[in-house]
């Protein structure tokens, strides 16, 4: 699978797109394939504070549940309401299905992964 070149990534298999002071977050194709069919996404409340590396929601699939981590520090400004009615969007188009947006509090974490680094991570994981 190809990893979009314009995004940044985390070891928890989230992607991050930054425009100005706003980060948009979703999960990667690799994550979606590992989870299987997603049936419910529990997202952080708009207005809540999130911390890089801390859980802020959950992704329920048929077979398992996984924590959703925030890749950045900041305040949640928006969540993707479409996921409530159609969580399968995560499997269908993981890189076009954002989950939440965060107004950044300070700088981006320095440990976000480049596309090449993330690609290498998933390949080493099999």
């Amino acid at each position: 699978m190809s990893v979009p070149a314009e995004l940044q990534y985390t070891p928890e298999h989230e992607w991050v797109s930054v425009e100005g002071h706003v980060a948009t977050v979703g999960i990667t194709d690799y994550a979606a394939q590992q989870l299987g069919d997603v049936v419910y996404v529990s997202l952080p409340a708009v207005g809540s504070a999130v911390t890089a590396g801390e859980p802020c929601g959950e992704v329920e699939s048929v077979k398992s549940v996984s924590d959703l981590y925030s890749p950045v520090d900041g305040e949640v400004t928006e969540v993707n309401e479409d996921l409530d009615g159609d969580p399968a969007l995560v499997n269908a188009e993981p890189y076009n299905t954002w989950m939440f947006r965060v107004r950044l509090d300070g700088d981006l974490p320095s440990d976000l992964l480049s596309p090449d680094q993330y690609d290498a991570l998933t390949k080493s994981a099999g």
């Binding site: 299987g36 049936v39 048929v62």
Partner: protein, 345 residues
């Protein structure tokens, strides 16, 4: 793909929900070659199985099958089995993959004083299951067997796609369907021929994930979840498989007779969840007025057919569960009669 009992198996081919729905509406094809096949043959094979298992296998007529269990002396379930009587003197025992070695060892020991041989034939058989309302339509042109004469829990020797096979009308999905036991070398041809023939009818290959949600909706127990050495058939609401009236003694009789009298220690209970959060194996089950859990979830999943999360749970007797503790949140649950799904055709 996932590691499962020493086999590398597909968890899903495309997506488990689509595979699940295909089995309910048309048909699915499962590779179950990991399952164990053990053959008991000899003049006293029937008597040996009557002693070794809780069922009355001597009462099974050739060509028919039984769902049964092998228990320890203390009544704990060592495995649940499907046993085919292939002739007067030969039985084919199907064991769960993870338990095959144990079942083979126990059957060998328990049949020691009977005139019969016990053979682990697992590597001689591939197993392909064709499940769903379109199964008859798909299989009919590929076999000379008259499928109308093969009733539920029966089987016959014949061929599928030109290759020798034992074909039985059994399954683990709650749908009509067949299981095809053939030589491993013939399996790719049988699989590919069935799949190609079935595509117009809506047949899809289906993996372990769909198999699990299908059997859960059908209220069927899974060894390691609802069944294990710490429960007897009575906890699993399957006391009917224990045949106290059969001739002779059998392993576990005394303990099972006592459990039949005292009643099960836990009640296998169906739960429907009033939330989109999903109960999972091991989650505590709560009841009003109790400050300790009333039981625990044995299997749980979002039900593709019903559109809500469902679970089976072991609950202490005389308590009505009201909620499942889903990672710290008491999510309301409604007791639901098992099975959650029963086919209409």
């Amino acid at each position: 793909m996932t590691g499962f009992a020493g086999f590398w198996m597909p968890l899903r081919y495309s997506g488990e929900t689509a595979e699940h729905n295909a089995v309910r509406r048309a048909a699915g094809l499962f590779d179950l070659s990991h399952m164990g096949e053990i053959i008991l043959a000899g003049a006293e094979a029937a008597a040996a199985l009557d002693y070794a298992l809780v069922g009355e296998l001597s009462a099974v007529t050739p060509g028919r099958a039984r769902y049964t269990m092998i228990c320890a002396e203390d009544g704990g379930v060592l495995d649940d089995l499907v046993v085919y009587r292939r002739s007067d003197r030969e039985y084919l025992v199907i064991a769960n993959a993870a338990n095959t070695a144990r079942v083979f060892a126990e059957l060998t020991t328990r049949s020691g004083r009977y005139d019969c041989s016990v053979t682990d034939a697992t590597s001689d058989y591939a197993l392909i299951a064709l499940q769903g309302p379109a199964a008859v339509q798909v299989l009919t042109p590929l076999t000379e067997l008259d499928l109308a004469t093969i009733k539920y829990y029966a089987g016959a020797d014949g061929s599928v796609a030109g290759r020798p096979a034992w074909v039985s009308r059994t399954g683990y999905t709650g749908e009509d369907g067949f299981e095809v036991y053939c030589a491993p070398d013939d399996a790719p041809h049988v699989w590919n021929t069935l799949l190609a023939a079935g595509v117009p009818a809506g047949l899809v290959p289906a993996g372990l994930a769909a198999r699990d949600t299908l059997r859960l909706e059908a209220g069927m127990p899974l060894y390691g979840n609802e069944l294990g050495p710490d429960v007897t058939p009575f906890e699993a609401n399957l006391g009917r498989v224990v045949k106290f009236g059969k001739p002779g003694d059998f392993v576990g009789r005394a303990a099972l007779a006592e459990r039949a009298t005292t009643g099960p220690l836990h009640i296998l209970t169906g739960l429907t969840i009033q939330s989109r959060r999903v109960p999972r194996h091991g989650y505590p089950v709560l009841a009003d007025g109790r400050d300790v859990p009333a039981g625990y979830v044995t299997s749980g999943a979002p039900s593709p057919t019903l559109g809500v999360p469902i679970a089976m749970a072991y609950v202490v007797p005389d308590v009505v569960p009201t909620a499942v503790d889903i990672r710290g949140e008491a999510v309301p649950a409604i007791v639901t009669e098992l099975p959650f799904y029963r086919r209409r055709h």
